[in-house]
Amino acid sequence: MDAITAESKGTPSLQDLASQALDLAKRQGATAAEVNSGLGKGLSVTVRRGEVETVEHHRDKSLSVTVFFGDRSGSASTSDFRPEALSEAVRAACAIARHTALDPFNGLADPAHLARNIPDLDLYHPWALTVDGAIELARRCEDAAFAADRRIRNSEGATVTAHEGEDVYATSAGFMGTVRASHHGVSCAVLGEDDEGHMQRDYDYASVRDARDLPDVEVIGRLAAERAARRLGARQIKTCQVPVLYEAPVARSLLSHLVSAVSGPSLYRRSSFLIDSVDTELFPNMVHLYEEPHRKKGNGSAPFDGEGVETKYRDLVTEGVLRRYCLDSYSARKLKLVTTANAGGVHNLMIRPGADDLQGLLRQMGRGLFVTELIGFGINTVTGDYSRGAAGFWVEDGELAYPVEEITIASNLRDMYRGIVGIGNDVDMRHNICTGSLLIDRMTVAGS
């Protein structure tokens, strides 16, 4: 597959388009402007029960512009790159800026913080995936799931995707950064059925920058099957208060609630339960969280944030103490702080793993609930109140006793963070936020 280029001959590059949009903004009288432009293409193929189900060809492009007239701002975006569409978008942004309020915190990032050198983070590995090749991989993946357990009788299919793209961020102050990146994946979701006709679904997947780093697709299929089969026969348990072990893939959500609670907008809007919590002990001493934006091939790696600010290794929590917030330039100015290069989110937020693997954490818990799936959105970020639907396993003597469903787990995030008593070394690296399994000392489980 050749490198991404603008679609047809004579079409300007993303960099040229960004420059044109910045010029247009200047000509409209904008005192400053920023532009994001992106172009991507991909292929996604799903095979279900051995037959091709969908073949999707993706091709996306977009350009968004924010203009500043002194302290006023306006934004617009378009998926149409023709000159007249570009002009219309810039005009629309300028028209909006005439009506928005003066906001002294508005503006581009401080030039002192911008990325000067843009390191190659090894994110761009186009995959010459053909439709036939994708079908073959998906078939093998799903076949492995059916072969793994006789109770696997149905499937939502196996999907293979390849995607590559280029993104440009440019400002009227002269910043122009380009990032080329690819991401590829294999996923498989299957259904187990017990003798009474009750069904359970579960899945497994891989997500990588470079297709050569994909595990064998059969492994993904087998894991999906094992996960679905082991849930068969799930039952409700009685309401109780017990320790809860979050399996790594769901433990990630606990850290993403943290990120959202310590992010600039939640803080200046006073809509976070973690206002004024920098330098306070939110976690036990053993918890260390840090951002590692320059990890090679990392799923959340980025050389600069959404405003061109240089990203670098930064601690978030050390020895259980929150050391900083996650800020972009706007919220930093409002809070009289300095940007932490988090415009657009965190970049590879990592936890320092503990010594124990999952078995070790189960043994440490002894008796309690092992959660493998969460559903619903019962998180109040203003108060930290937490109540979500869950499924998983009842654990006795450190061993999975039986599958559990139709229960909720509830507490307050502050208590849950303080109550972390174990961090697994089974770190799930498939995302931008990476953690091992997390053991929490006590939560309320609601059931029958």
């Binding site: 047809s8 060809h57 259904l191 559903i375 619903g376 469903e405 229960i407």
Partner: protein, 487 residues
Amino acid sequence: MATDILHSQNLERAQDFLLKPAGIGAGELEQVMSRMLGHQVDYADLYFQYSRQESWSLEEGQVKSGSRHIEQGVGVRAIAGEKTGFAYSDEIIMPALLDAASAARAIARSGQDKTHALATHSGGSLALYEPCDPLSSLEDTAKVGLLERVEQEARRQDPRVKQVMASLGGSQETVLVMRSDGIMAADVRPLVRLNVSVIVEQDGRREHGSAGGGGRTDYGYFLTEERALSYAREAVRQALVNLEATPAPAGTMQVVLGPGWPGILLHEAIGHGLEGDFNRKGTSAFAGRLGERIAAEGCTVVDDGTLPGRRGSLNVDDEGTPTQNTVLIERGILKGYLQDRMNARLMGMAPTGNGRRESYAHLPMPRMTNTYMLAGSMPPEEIIGSVKKGLYAVNFGGGQVDITSGKFVFSASEAYLIENGRIGRPVRGATIIGSGPEVLTRVTMVGNDLALDSGVGTCGKDGQSVPVGVGQPTLRIDGMTVGGTEE
């Protein structure tokens, strides 16, 4: 008939708008269709779309940001049996269209181009809303002014209101569907929405409340009957109730759900599980259960895309099928599924006008429109009065369902204890969990106060978001698991 006039206007307008500038006429469409309709392709469609959206948002007393977005493109789909080939382009031009058609039809290998004479005719359509342009229905200054008034109204309610965030959004979408069976259909879809969210603070404790509404109309909707201001008052009321709330109970108990938005219960517990794709594939807990009792006698649930002006309504779905009122559960018996064309055909059923897609860049699937339960006969006071000890939940945040196990959740954002038939102290938000195929069998009372939500629902499925509506009367359900912290 007024319906016909409006409909033909929509089709004409969509053609003028989407096709004419690209020089695409009947001959060109035929050429694209011919490229796809080799002998193994059963069905193909083209979906042209142009959409304009805007949003304005206020915080700290000022409208600080606004944005506009313009998007257009065409999605090309070819179906052979259970196989779907799909490609799209964000340029509506012939070369891109032909490329997309070649990519989509590759799903059926051995087909060859054959000339396909298309006798196009327009399909039926409803006229549930005007093809108005919300974006130009109000001057920009007036949009800003509206949000400022909303902010002032919220602050005026109570000195404990510390933050007010409000947003106003509008869009107009013009779509044109061209099917291989010759049907051509179009729709011009306006949609507006206003949301208010407040933070209140007292003695170091903070809480929030939110309210909003909208529909397929223009911004004038918010100016009538003080609607926008009433959202502000409602958000503050909710936040102040929550400020007094104590921990919710944990365990299985009687639950009374209020009318309107709590109908999200039906969306999660029933609606998704009855979507045709899950049932054709046998992955839904409801698969193969047509004709069986899945709810109490008093429960009749419909999905109705034909309610005038509602957020979930459509004149035609995204496959050109007119929407309809589909009975899902009639007096407790499972009667029907929600279908798009592909799943309907494969299941030997009729399409129900539920084929929806987020945009041209997404494949259509069976989706809900406005899903609600019909009213019963009980006055709501009597329902509450009948409960000795339980939970009364009147407002909810989001919900989610596991289609296969049937387990669903939805999270209360305003709830009270019921003690001896009286509404007692407010309790903090708790998630309620249940089992879709069972929950409605435990409905013991159905209120006479059917209400639809105010127009705030967005449903997500396979990464695609579409606007929907829900509704229900007050319901008593004997035995739901409430996920509080108090044992």
